[in-house]
Amino acid sequence: MMLNLNSRNFIFVLALPVFIVACSDNGQTQTSANTESKIVEQVQEIVDIQQTNVDDLINTEDDVHLQDLMHQAAQASRHAQAYNFVWSTTESLIEKGYASAKEGKETEAKYFFQEAKMQFKLSIKQAIYAKQHWALLVPEND
């Protein structure tokens, strides 16, 4: 490296701005702890987003077993809830799916669970997009 920084100095340089921001916190330890936990949450959220392969949530095979579909829909729901972008139309599909399954209407039940999974998947994609592009609607200063 041109500047010939050794690793200890480099870490110091990176840590300094964090220290400066932390010092501007009026010394309130509660606030600092909350801020720190928020930063940890945000970093975890970014890691989650990067590791999400939302296409894996959808099984497009026709012969998938109803029980598997129920399990996958529940899994997709948990995943989607974490993003806080769930649609108001989705959870009722799960309820309809269970009602159809109870009545023995397997094909109909599969449709509802598949549709719910698709909506959960789209809401996750929407959340990821919004995280990156929400500022597109902010008016610009001319």
Partner: protein
């Protein structure tokens, strides 16, 4: 020499960290300029009247309604609730600055000790719990009446929501801002889609109001509700309309949104409760 280089790098890094937070004052300047460009004939103070500031026909109907305001009963009910002591003899007045009179313009605020946004309705319920009373349900009913009364006592006071210059407060403001501008729901719409980008345009039979000034007249009597309701009840309705699963009233998400949304209207007078369709 090496020390100087470290100092410059540290300074640059600090700048990058600092610039990752929003600048609320700059945001306000930008939004006010934006609406001034779209509605050049509307004076700033008129934005508190929402769609009635920009559409003459709607305005004349509204002025007729205001001759016998439908929210008056809510203010009276709120005053009775506010002045009636709790079982322990204390009252709401004991929980607020200036006995709770003329303070709505300062809400929501960021509580740096608790590191969260405190709305007026949340503070009212915390006051109740502090004095051994059950919390009220949010959105409508008694909480909206209390809030209506407190808004009425703050009439014409200029909205003064502050964002302390500390990371947690700026982060809450930023989260509210992101919520406001992020598209969500099956219809893929943001608050800003209607109330910034399309303000003044028609959505079916309705004209969309500008975001600026929207919080000044809440709680509002809506004919659709046949009663007064809080701003967060309206958020719930908006989210439902775009087919997004609404958040719980007074959730962190909605409190942060209210924080950003109200800060946007800083400098405008409180004129709540108001009347809306």
């Amino acid at each position: 020499m090496k020390v100087k280089i470290y100092f410059v790098i540290a300074l640059l890094s600090s700048f990058i960290v600092a610039s990752s937070f929003a600048d609320p004052v700059e945001d306000n300047k930008i939004i006010k300029t934006y609406f001034a460009d779209i509605f050049p004939n509307i004076v700033f103070e008129e934005y508190v009247n929402g769609v009635y500031a920009i559409d003459e026909n709607s305005r004349s109907q509204w002025l007729d309604i205001e001759e016998f305001p439908p929210y008056e009963e809510a203010i009276e009910a709120g005053e009775i609730l506010f002045t009636t002591p709790f079982k322990n003899g204390a009252s709401y007045a004991d929980c607020f600055e200036n006995g709770g009179i003329g303070i709505k313009q300062n809400y929501p605020y960021f509580d740096t000790d608790r590191s969260q946004v405190i709305t007026l309705e949340l503070a009212l319920n915390e006051c109740r719990q502090q004095h051994g009373e059950q919390p009220l349900s949010y959105g409508k009913g008694d909480i909206a009446y209390l809030s209506s009364y407190m808004a009425a006592t703050s009439k014409d006071k200029l909205i003064h929501v502050t964002v302390p210059n500390e990371p947690a407060a700026l982060a809450a403001y930023e989260e509210g801002k992101q919520f406001f501008y992020a598209r969500r729901g099956q219809l893929n719409m943001a608050c800003a889609t209607c109330h910034v980008s399309s303000a003044g345009k028609r959505l079916r039979a309705d004209i969309l109001s500008p975001a600026l000034g929207q919080t000044s007249h809440f709680p509002a009597y809506r004919f659709k509700w046949d009663d007064v309701g809080t701003i967060q009840r309206r958020y719930d309705g908006c989210n439902t309309q775009i087919r997004a699963k609404p958040f719980k009233l007074q959730s962190e998400q909605y409190r942060n949104l209210e924080y950003f949304h109200t800060h946007m209207s800083n400098g405008l007078p409180i004129n709540g409760p108001g009347t809306r369709k």
